[in-house]
Symmetry: C2
Subunit: 434 residues, 2 copies
């Protein structure tokens, strides 16, 4: 084939959406009735469309808007040059920008991730190849995910808020139930695993005092037996002594212990004391933080997330670093739809090993914006899309509906503290709690 | 574009060649009159041809031959799966396989590099894009190289052996001259820089006792002034005390000091004692060796080489590791032709930074096997090829001629000790010499 110029970026469409999210509890408070995502669509001069999905805030949307003038006219294949342009505009993220919340608030990595995935989608379509082939090709046909359990209030989220939709059945009904004690967590796990077939379980903690949460993990072990690996994530709220005390108790039952404490130095102390591997999505969240993580031995497993590590190709580099330094690799998630899930699956299929099933909030969502509706799980795994690019297409009717949700709901950024205060007046996030 | 299957590998052609090489001296002895390379050509089921070039030995050629049955029928885009198949056949290289010589003797990384570059050449042709675009796109139009000075005996190499070709002019004539003392090294540098426009200079040492080689570096500084950075590589023959003593003396004039001593532990000792950055192509030569290099602070700069680091995509991962751990990145070379040079240039254009001009033996070669003949240097740099794939095509007449050279010369692997013994009977390689 002769040399192909471009394709070049002609249009960039930024659409904030709000997706129904149930009242999930976490260290930062409570999920709002809607989670915000931003859908990016890039259209080339030859009318090829590429899409991506990132966590949305008005600030991120504004930064994407401000990036348009830099990006219009650029060749989608020039990802290195695009990254450099965005670095020059926004500055390389400092790790301190990440914030204390369980989700990452850095700007450049978000924006570049959005642009990169949409460009890769276009590149795949131009080449007639799925994105996984741009990452070196798939090493597995199915990518395994883990059940992601949450403490929650009763309620469906969205317009139902804390109410339940009486017409729901199956997992849709189970998803509405409260889970505020070990028995309800076990019931949630059983319903989720029955629906999706997950082969491993993660409990998002940092909600109740440690004794109750640890009891829930033992109840899960009791209910599921040894064949189902368990992970637990108190979102860095614990003191070092607390983490070591309960960590020792959980050594026989945990596959890994995620962010029990805040900061690499504290993680290193806990890691020295425990046989259980430590994982992180809060203490080592950027390439800049890796050298110290390695130097002091802060963690065993890094949770990648292409939205926060600067895209899929950077996540492949992270995988190479983890392999080189004998660190495990897994994947973090926020509330998301099928575009993010498809990107996660392409990445999960290309990384050298998937020793740990990946995280996903997908079971908690009911909305979708891809043609054909919700993606399917079989035995807890998702088949790698085989169509060119991401392998999923934007459902424009759904996009419009979810954008209307965004306009109607009035949310502009995630703030779980404010949502929690609506239920427990005066509730305050505490970075160190137990 | 609809989903494209393949293209699949239909034929693999392995052609050992011998290229004229002058009598260059180094730590391991003397270059033979011919250097061996192996040219790999992969042809797909739809008749697209991809090529690559690696250091050749009968052992590597046999391993490539034995890989054919694994590779025939595979999709060239499935590089991860191809790598896994070759790993399963040959085992992951152990760093100890590298050997003590200045060149790397590991099998898997060689073979996968050959296959990967040929596949990338095909992928680029299928996509209508240069290989640099598969690596994320170019960050510079020209990739800078360094003058690579060698001590040498008089002679042109090849059929001339230690004789000179009386018809040669310009650099072709200068290349034949002996360089056995500081004055002759300066003359070589002047002739090479005049021809290629290099903006930095490296002296390959480990040939004479340190005093003489260090004097040559001071003579170069005297002749070229401070504007031309100098590097020096005694190929790990020195004792730690020697490296510190002469290293201190050279601190004012060296840009970096490459492999003064053998082994990471010794490098770390020298690095602590000197202000000059230490570079390596002998002490840290694989991903497996990186963790200890970082842990003990063995080096400041890693010399990549896609032939030895498992291809271009792995070299991008290495670049990511170097960036993450604040290590510099440069590039190593052996005697090579334009196919390797083109691959080096694509890589050099995609890596985030090129703080150090790359090594190349190319000025020492006179043969070529690419259509259009020898690649051009301007001000010491090579323009990034813009045609699809590598951007260079095999000259089949030249290939046949160089293959005949191979058959005629009788060499089967590089052995600089035997060549040296032809000049200095009884000469023995010593891993620790001064």
């Amino acid at each position: 084939m002769p040399l192909q110029k471009g394709p070049r970026i002609r249009e960039i469409h930024i659409t904030p959406i709000a997706i129904v999210d149930p009242p999930l509890l976490n260290a930062a408070g409570l999920h709002a009735p809607y989670a915000l995502r931003t859908i990016l669509e890039i259209v080339t001069d030859d009318n090829i469309s590429g899409i991506s999905e990132i966590p949305g805030t008005t600030e991120i949307d504004a930064a994407l808007e401000a990036s348009k003038e830099l990006l219009i006219g650029m060749d989608v294949f020039q990802l290195n040059a695009i990254q450099r342009k965005l670095e020059q505009k926004f500055g390389v993220d400092q790790s301190s920008d990440r914030g204390e919340a369980p989700w990452d608030q850095r700007k450049l990595v978000h924006i570049f991730s959005a642009v990169e995935v949409a460009c890769l989608d276009i590149m795949g379509k131009v080449m007639g190849k799925p994105i996984v082939d741009i990452l070196g090709g798939k090493l597995r046909e199915r990518v395994p995910f883990s059940a992601y359990l949450f403490y929650k209030y009763e309620g469906a989220g969205g317009e139902y808020g804390f109410n339940t939709n009486p017409n729901a059945t199956g997992w849709d009904a189970a998803r509405q139930l409260a889970a505020l004690n070990p028995g309800e967590i076990v019931a949630q796990a059983k319903a989720m695993c029955a629906e999706f077939g997950f082969q491993s379980i993660k409990l998002k903690g940092g909600v109740f005092e440690p004794r109750q949460e640890v009891d829930a993990l033992f109840a899960l072990r009791e209910a599921f037996g040894n064949a189902i690996p368990l992970r637990y994530d108190p979102n860095a709220l614990w003191k070092v002594e607390t983490a070591i005390q309960y960590g020792k108790e959980m050594e026989p039952i945990l596959e890994y212990f995620e962010d029990p404490v805040r900061g690499q130095a504290n993680m290193a102390l806990v890691r020295k004391a425990l046989a259980t591997p430590l994982a992180t999505n809060m203490c080592t969240t950027s390439f800049e933080e890796i050298p110290n993580s390695i130097a002091i031995g802060a963690e065993d497993i890094i949770l990648s997330d292409h939205h926060f590590w600067g895209g899929l190709k950077s996540s492949m580099t992270l995988a190479g670093i983890c392999k080189t330094f004998s660190r495990g690799l897994s994947m973090h998630s926020n509330s998301h739809l099928g575009i993010s899930l498809a990107a996660m699956v392409h990445l999960g299929a290309a990384i050298p090993e998937v020793p740990y099933a990946l995280d996903t909030h997908y079971p908690w969502q009911s909305d979708e914006i891809i043609v054909g509706g919700r993606m399917k799980f079989e035995e807890g795994a998702v088949m790698v899309p085989t169509e060119p690019g991401l392998g999923v297409e934007l459902d424009r009717v759904a996009l419009e509906k979810l954008h209307q949700n965004y306009l109607n709901c009035g949310l502009t950024k995630r703030n779980d503290e404010i949502e929690m205060q609506k239920v427990q007046p005066g509730w305050k996030f505490q970075a160190l709690r137990w």
